[in-house]
Amino acid sequence: MGQLLLGLINGAFYAILSLGLAVIFGLLNIINFAHGALYMAGAFVAWMLLNYVGIGYWPALILSPLIVGAFGILLERTMMSRLYKLDHLYGLLLTFGLALIIQGLFRNYYGISGLPYQIPSQLSGGQNLGFMFLPNYRGWVVVASVVVCFGTWFMIEKTRLGAYLRAATENPALVGAFGVNVPLLITLTYGFGVGLAGFAGVLAAPIYSVNPNMGADLIIVVFAVVVIGGMGSILGAIVTGYMLGIVEGLTRVFYPEGSAVVIFVIMAIVLLIKPEGLFGKEAR
């Protein structure tokens, strides 16, 4: 029971990160390999806000995703927007290169061992649930992640803005003809997806080591989550994120040595049986 809950908490991180990836891929057709680096940047920005400006955790939770999102918009405008007409591969190479550069810069200035970031005092301590000790902070992570994931899903699937977005990816020329500023929409979407990564980074800062490689360690798993859920499927990314967190958590109890592999085994099986992913639409 306790292990299930822990799995759910890890799933929360997978869900937010894969959600961002799915939004970007679904609406922009860019395979954003820089996602892990931007997640790391989110955690570092939170640390910088605290140590250079004296801004604590709660404002950082808002500010840091905004800063990372703005940085993402800059990248999109100056570089990625030139690649939309080309094959996926070019976007992948560009973002992969950007990820290496961002990581390298942080490593150069802050070293590799990581920086300390404390849990905010309101959330330190924990509750004894009888079957396990649940740190308050972990509870908060799950709540925050569920709210953000649901909010995003709702916005894209149920609101007028989301409808514009989906329409713009189907047929940008037609939507443009109706007077919608399509490039702006796409830029903001990228900024939003990247902002989600920054948000996950701030959530992670108090419990994981804040170091330049923290994103690189996670991004491969998150990509597997997106593939299993179905590339570009928003609901798929969310559900699969939580589900795989639980599966991984259980593997840690019954066969810990295999916990790094289990997600990829599942990915292979899913690809064999249902190549478009669990929630993916048939390839058009």
């Binding site: 396990m132 170091n211 916990s259």
Partner: protein, 399 residues
Amino acid sequence: MMKKLSMATALCALTAGAGFAQGIDVKLGVLNDRSGTYADLSGEGSAVATRMAVEDFGAAEKGINVEVISADHQNKPDVGSNIARQWYDVDGVNAIIDVPTSSVALAVADITAEANGVLLDSGAGSTSLTRDQCQPTTVHWTYDTAALANGTGGAVTKAGGKKWFFLTADYAFGHSLEENTMAVVKDNGGEVVGNVRHPFPSQDFSSYLLQAQGSGADVIGLANAGGDTVNAIKQASEFGITQAGQSLAALLMFVTDVHSLGAETAQGLNLTEAFYWDQNDATREWSARFEEQMGAKPTMVHAGAYSATMAYLAAVEALGSAEDGRAIVAKMKEMEFDDPLFGKVTVRGDGRAIHDMYLFEVKSPDQSEGEWDLYNQISSISGDDAFLPMLEECDFTKK
């Protein structure tokens, strides 16, 4: 005309010969991790420490021309092996320094023996370097897994931590550290109630910590390193493990790891090191000079690179040549070193450097007076107690 030419040639040869007799050329290669997990605890810092040793030894005044080069082995044995071969065969390197990551160190030790160079290892932990894979050209300077086990494992068990649960990184180094520590725990009347092996590297330890919590152990031994240890400790504090009465023993931790955790999270941890910057005037003075160049305090790996280089240069000076690696290491084993950082050091027949090790406790935030003021020294462990006894077949002084 011919006569003049040959005269000139002879003159040239004479002067060149005279110059060679006065100066000894030494080329040192610092090979370590410059970009990955171990880049802060070794990395450029070890190259800086090596250059400081060359300067402090007064090599130039003694007619020894030393050149220091460095490279990144990326923690990969194949990359490390290629660089080592290139250095010995093409670039004329005489000694390779540092080499953290045991798998890389063992590969480089073999190549060094083949090339008759010298390996002055500071960063790696595996006891195999001076035991089952010992070489006449290896000197293992700073620490090994047995010393860590004896230091932290012994102290914690004697202090009443009888029941142990191990959280072990699932690769050679973790297994070796776990095995050494289990032996020490049992020798001191403790017992091992369980262990779990986690993939390397891992982000989330909560699941393993919960298993450790349920095991009823007094002590959770962390047989891992770097980011894994930092994450495990951070999360143990979050899950209230230490508040609930279980204690943590971080079997390998460097001052950079503790700095990264902060005193708030790391306070009370026991750990074993060969060197801490704030031990005496000599270490403080040296560390301040190091910090000027690196912007951070040195780890024991940096200090080891410095003092191993000093010892090596002393042997080279005594022999008057850096060509024969076996002869230099044999000379080092005859000498006694009084080192500003490590105190009295001797090198045993198997290449193990014998010096004191120290048991430290991490200060609480109220005790700590600066960001690097992190340790209280609890006790010192004499070199003979800290390291494993020598294997007969590895005693190269008798061969």
